[in-house]
């Protein structure tokens, strides 16, 4: 997930873009430790794992959704993307949606 922090640097302070991490952890203490360690610059929320996977229809964890201004899901990326040029890919998706 460090790639999200890198990608976010470009949008920090942009009123038209928001990042939200949603944890499906059950172990709160473990999640707290992780968040303390990672110090994410954007908000983190929680959802029940079964709920989230059913409602958002994903199998892969993590899964990333890119949602446009009208609240429509435009891209869904399953699995870990933290390899290679992933911050560039993250901002590519966001820029696509911003430019419309």
């Amino acid at each position: 997930m460090p790639h999200l922090k890198t990608a976010y640097a470009k949008y920090q302070g942009d009123p038209n873009v928001a990042f939200l991490l949603i944890s499906i952890d059950e172990d709160t203490a473990r999640l707290q430790r992780y968040l303390t360690e990672m110090k994410f610059p954007f908000p983190v929320a929680r959802a029940a794992a079964v709920d989230a996977q059913q409602v958002m229809r994903f199998d892969n964890i993590p899964s990333t959704f890119y949602v446009d201004r009208d609240g429509v899901v435009r891209y869904q990326i399953g699995g870990n993307e933290s390899h290679g040029d992933s911050p560039a890919r993250v901002s590519w998706f966001i820029d696509q949606l911003k430019s419309r």
Binding site: L4, F19, L21, I22, S23, R46, A48, V55, F65, R74
Partner: protein
């Protein structure tokens, strides 16, 4: 004496002002008409609305607006990809044409258009507008260069420009880019595809529907950009710049959600050239599992696959291919049914990390990245 001279001067000034307003209105009218010929609706309507405010051009401008709204209301179904009739324009068509007739009761063409609109309003079904002869002829001219290998390149450029001037959609740029690629004019092809991408965005902006479902225009933008990215990527591949080619071809794949035959074929060719047979195989199979694509390219993809080594236990090539393709088609169908892409974000109950209700109101209207994760 003084007073009279002043009055006369005033009369001249007023006359000059109204004359220049008339000239401006006439210019707007001409501009609006030419913009509409190119199917640049938004700008055409703005110009014509300005012309409709001047008494001297009101009848013509209202008639022109009425004719545009007739097209939008009844006749634009599938005239371009993603275009649909917009019934909300029907009442506006009638209102504009009535305003045209009121402004100039003797105007025969306005009365004719009003009758047409009233007829459409009463009809069960109205056929979409046929392609215009002028545009059809220019398209045919451009297409003819596919088989005219010795034609001078300046003729191709002239044909592209002529077609682009007649109608503002991106098709001539994309056709032109392909023609230039076929002739090995790779840098010019890349520049042409870039013009196509810009034309595509503008054409969509100009013709956004008033009540379009948000998904529609997004898809149209992506289609134009994907076509441009694939053409550019393929030209870069032919220039032997594999790294830049990969970036563009993969961008096209993201935009088309890996569902474009030609793009998947191009990615297969790139992977083969990069000596990555597994990746090449995936792309060729993806391509063939999609419909569309010109038969010669389908044949080349099949040949490339048959030349690749397979495991000894595999059945005959044809049987293997059929199994692979139907598996991909089934997977794609299942994924499409399941995916949230192009659907509204569903309601999901969120809490803060310490368990209080999470307020999502600040996220509304923003481009949003949602990442579901677990720390394990």
């Amino acid at each position: 004496m003084h007073r009279r001279r002043f009055a006369m001067a005033l009369a001249i000034v007023t006359a000059a002002a109204s004359l220049s307003a008339q000239t401006a209105a006439r210019e707007q009218l001409v501009r609006g008409r030419s913009l509409w010929d190119q199917r640049l609706s938004k700008s055409a309507i703005a110009a014509l609305e300005a012309a409709a405010r001047d008494r001297t051009t009101a009848a013509e401008a209202h008639e022109m607006l009425g004719r545009i709204y007739i097209f939008k209301g009844w006749q634009q179904e599938n005239v371009f990809p993603g275009w649909h009739d917009e019934p909300s324009y029907r009442a506006r068509a009638l209102a504009e044409l009535r305003a045209a007739v009121a402004a100039d009761p003797a105007r025969a063409s306005a009365q004719e258009a009003l009758h047409l609109a009233e007829g459409f309003a009463a009809a069960e079904k109205v056929d979409p507008a046929p392609p215009r002869d002028e545009v059809k002829a220019l398209d045919a001219k451009l297409e003819s260069y596919r088989s005219a290998a010795s034609a001078p390149i300046t003729d191709i450029f002239a044909a592209i420009e002529a077609r682009a001037k007649a109608q503002a959609d991106p098709a001539p740029y994309f056709t032109g880019a392909q023609l230039l690629i076929d002739r090995g004019e790779l840098d010019r092809a890349i520049a042409m595809a870039e013009r196509g991408a810009a034309a595509s965005d503008r054409f969509i902006d100009e013709n956004l529907s008033a009540y379009q479902m948000s998904g529609k225009s997004q898809g149209s933008y992506a289609r134009g950009r994907a076509t441009a990215a694939d053409l550019i990527g393929w030209a870069l591949f032919l220039k032997k710049d594999d790294a830049a080619a990969a970036a563009k071809l993969e961008e096209a794949a993201r935009l088309s959600q890996s569902q474009d035959f030609v793009n998947q074929f191009h990615l297969g060719e790139l992977a083969r050239a990069q000596n990555a047979p597994e990746r090449a195989r995936e792309h060729y199979l993806n391509a063939l599992s999609l419909s569309g694509g010109p038969p010669p390219l389908r044949q080349r993809a099949t040949q490339a696959l048959s030349a690749m080594p397979r495991r000894a236990s595999d059945a005959s090539f044809d049987a293997w291919l059929e199994t692979e393709l139907s598996r991909r088609r089934d997977e794609r169908k299942a994924a499409a049914l399941k995916s949230l892409v192009d659907r509204s974000l569903p309601k999901l109950t969120l809490t803060t990390v310490d368990g209080r209700p999470y307020d999502t109101s600040s996220l509304r209207g923003k481009v949003l990245l949602l990442n579901f994760f677990a720390s394990w």
